[in-house]
Symmetry: C2
Subunit: 190 residues, 2 copies
Amino acid sequence: MATAKQLAKMVNGVNVDNLFTTIDAIKAAPSIAKFNFRIENRWEGAGQNRSAVNTFHGAGQEISRQKSFILHADEPPVLLGDDSAANPIEYLLHSLAACLTTSMVYHAAARGIEIEEVESSFEGDIDLHGFLDLDPKVRKGYQGIRATFKVKADVPDERLQEIVELGTGHSPVFDSLTKGVPVAVKAERL
Amino acid sequence: MATAKQLAKMVNGVNVDNLFTTIDAIKAAPSIAKFNFRIENRWEGAGQNRSAVNTFHGAGQEISRQKSFILHADEPPVLLGDDSAANPIEYLLHSLAACLTTSMVYHAAARGIEIEEVESSFEGDIDLHGFLDLDPKVRKGYQGIRATFKVKADVPDERLQEIVELGTGHSPVFDSLTKGVPVAVKAERL
């Protein structure tokens, strides 16, 4: 019984009791579902810059981490950088992979589906004719992204596809990137 | 004269001669403008996962870094994680900030506009009613993102706005995120 109780609470490393407690809390007080995430970025010359990630608003409160997470970006030499960090468009693939993985794992946990391992690979195509203003018909951004999820779970083949669709059906980054997000940008003097 | 020559070559830390050499090379052989970026991600339990960033295709060749960049993702406790790293949706803001900054700085360099400092702040709103399937009218992703760029440059006020628009007008991540990108996801058994 102790084992059964433990399995019911923790699935895929996720505390499912807390997940359902969160859902009940949001039903009782809808405003606690509103989250606001932030970063601060500083240019460090050429293709290098650095973001500090710390506070956010969520669950009805301002939340601070004990220390900021620092994310560095650069470009490889062929894109005129020093190759000291991943570049922005690689960070976008990481953001997408991470969000699809977490969304899949959390929603599988809520349904009691145990997942043993997940690996994924992502690739995206960009044609620099866009960025360099060499052809107005070529977009600046990714023309398309392809991903493969490899999942180890004791489920029949048809459930495997359903598990991956728990990710694509719920991921905030997948939704943002595939459907687009309005981004307002203001300029000020420093 | 030596100083003038040096200024002409390096603007904002960007080797402008190399930038124009790249543009000429693409005009001569358009296929070298096609870039393909990739990452590999692995789930590490609950809200934790890790991407390895290394090879890409660009400038007509396969390019490997000396070692992979490792990007870790997690969630804060209020989102059932251990808070060991930034979360996926914070990585998305970093990707956007980094790409807008680099795009602005490179395109300013190409126009001979010297920029002294750049700082930016980004914030985005998410309502978990979407992610948690509590309200089908609420999207899973960001409802909107707001950014402020603070730029130090010896230019009149009206040029400041133009400088920031060099970023929004050219950034691959801004273009991808505001207009949307098709993402194809395959499921396989591990």
